[in-house]
Amino acid sequence: MTDALAVSGLLAGYGQSRVLQGVDFELAAGSILAVLGRNGSGRSTLARALMGLVPARGSVRWLGHELLGLPPHAIARLGVAYVPESRDVFPRLTVAQNLTLGLQPRSTRPVCWTQEWVYDSFPALAARWDVAAGVLSGGEQQMLSLCRALMGAPQLLIVDEPTEGLAPQVVTQVDALLRALSTQGMAVLLIEQKLDLSLAVADRVAVMGHGRLVFDGSPAQLLASPAVVQEWLEV
């Protein structure tokens, strides 16, 4: 199948410091790419760069559009959704309002994730739909952030550590959800710490180091190459 997302020679950074030194990869619709790497290796920066949240250079093509240079809202309206590692729920808005804001203005895509769906699959949220998101527990905020992104019926989902702070049960639930999403044809860029989980969920894993992708292949291949794991994932 064709690659929905094609990133090449992506450079990005903050002010003087360059974090991404040229990242290249493709991502096909309906597949999950997990990006691993040490802390501070630049994975979140990659996510931000794709979302147009940090100045970047290079090329990011998504369904034939060049994303670089577009403002974040334009990118989002092309069906790209982003779940930041710091959750960034809107603290003073209620859970319901947060979800509403997930819906995009004048979006043509069919809405498949309704609030009902959210409350069914995450009872924790259902119980607290009308309290300010700011007082939610860490885990609840994590769920909210994920669901909020889904409300926009994206075709590309960029999730930065979606399982952080989630109880094991919920973690497995989220795994299942991600898999389901990809089978429904969504492209997922999963930035994850938990190696085993990534390996279980992803169709492909990439390893980031020194602002580059030092490995890109199937989970099996990664396990088969302990050198990479040794050098880029272990301490």
């Binding site: 990005a12 950074g13 940090v54 250079r57 240079g69």
Partner: protein
């Protein structure tokens, strides 16, 4: 805002102090001396504001309460001293007034600093307005709208020290300003100073480190009030009059604005203070359009130097450190364009202000020899043309901004 301690001031303040102290020797003109005195005082006031805002993140809309209090304390003591012939040298009044103000700031500060952010800003605004109005309503103490005046040459004189003479007063001011600068610089590097920054950035976390945020804020507030009091007292000595105006919201306003414009580094208040006097005394004397220029100045200043002028200076310094500023074709022509544009803009503004009173004031004279007759269309057309050309040059030579790392 960049926190000041990241830039080494060890060498800066004694030099500044030295410079200040040398100025009067360099200058003959009493006018220049007056300006320098006012600048010194303004710098001190801005420093006091900097302690609150730059260090503590507290935006006070009523800082004039404390400069004013210092001024009145000083003036009352001065009058009493003149009346009863106390053996108290006038040169000590600023410090006394400072201490007095600090004491006064304790209760008011306790009220204001309980919460940071908007509540603080608005409480100070309220207190500011109240004090101002009360001062007007209480002429017995404030001297009504024509205020209290006194003679700074009063009191005992030691060794030919005569504050009546501007140069001597100036020295007094310079010493206090240098002393204040040193004090603030030191404060920013003490434990409390650092914790104050912490409170500024995240008041929730500080208690978990064993410190009471409000107490830290209050300490800063009182310290700031002390400096404010000193500068207020110096104003009183310099003007030899204190009117309720010293409490006016405009005082607080200009203090706030110019300190902010200066920026949150320790350089900020210095630039801010100097600029404040340059504008409000210098510029307003030069042109009737000074308010307009000030307004535009604020807008452009912030757009160009969002970190404040101090930040701009530091940036330039770092730029030099990194191989300096290479005037490429673009940069130079951009500067050229700016100069042309602003010059012709000034011409336009001046003419606009002049032509209603053409008969009184005659043609506009910007530079010697060049007289623009506001009634003939020629100068208008010309300067408009120049202005647009300048803008176009700027635009054409604009830097590739933003979207690149």
């Amino acid at each position: 805002m960049a926190s000041s301690h990241r830039f080494n001031w060890a060498w800066a303040w004694p030099m500044w102090a030295l410079l200040l102290l040398c100025l009067p020797l360099a200058w003959e003109s009493r006018h220049a001396l007056g300006l320098a005195s006012q600048m010194g005082i303004a710098v001190l006031a801005c420093l006091s504001f900097h302690v609150l805002w730059g260090q503590g993140g507290l935006l006070s809309f009523g800082h004039a309460v404390y400069t004013g209090a210092g001024a009145y304390l000083c003036m009352h003591t001065l009058q009493a001293l003149a009346a009863h012939g106390w053996p108290l040298p006038v040169a000590l009044l600023p410090l006394l007034a400072g201490v007095g103000t600090a004491v006064l700031a304790l209760p008011l500060g306790w009220l204001s600093t309980r919460r940071p952010g908007t509540p603080f800003a608005m409480i100070t605004l309220g207190l500011g307005e109240l004090t101002w109005a009360l001062a007007l309503m209480w002429p017995a103490w404030s001297g009504g709208e024509s205020g209290l005046s006194g003679n700074r040459a009063a009191g005992p004189r030691w060794g030919g020290w005569d504050l009546g003479q501007p140069a001597h007063l100036y020295l007094l001011i310079a010493v206090h300003t240098a002393f204040g600068l040193a004090l603030v610089w030191a404060f920013t590097r003490t434990t409390v100073g650092r914790l104050l920054n912490a409170v500024r950035d995240n008041p929730l976390r500080v208690p978990m480190l064993g410190y009471d945020p409000q107490r830290l804020r209050l300490m800063a507030f009182v310290f700031a009030a002390f400096l404010a009091g000193v500068s207020g007292a110096l104003v009183a000595l310099h003007q030899e009059i204190v009117t309720p105006e010293v409490f006016s919201i405009h005082r607080s306003g200009s203090l706030l604005l110019f300190t902010l414009l200066g920026g949150a580094t320790l350089l900020g208040p210095v630039l801010g203070g100097v600029l404040m006097v340059a504008v409000m005394v210098g510029l307003s004397g030069l042109t009737p359009a000074w308010l307009l220029y000030t307004g535009l100045g604020f807008m452009l200043g912030v757009v160009w130097a969002p970190q404040g002028l101090g930040g701009l200076v530091l940036a330039a310094r770092q730029a030099f450190a990194r191989g300096g500023w290479r005037p490429g074709g673009r940069t130079t022509s951009r500067w050229l364009g700016m100069v042309v544009a602003s010059a012709s803009a000034v011409a336009l503004v001046e003419m606009a202000y002049q032509w209603p009173q053409h008969d009184t004031l005659g043609p506009v004279r910007l530079v010697a020899g060049l007289a623009l007759d506001t009634r003939s269309p020629v100068p208008w057309v010309l300067s408009t043309g120049l202005f647009l050309t300048g803008l176009m040059v700027c635009w054409w030579a604009r830097p590739h901004e933003g979207h690149r790392p």
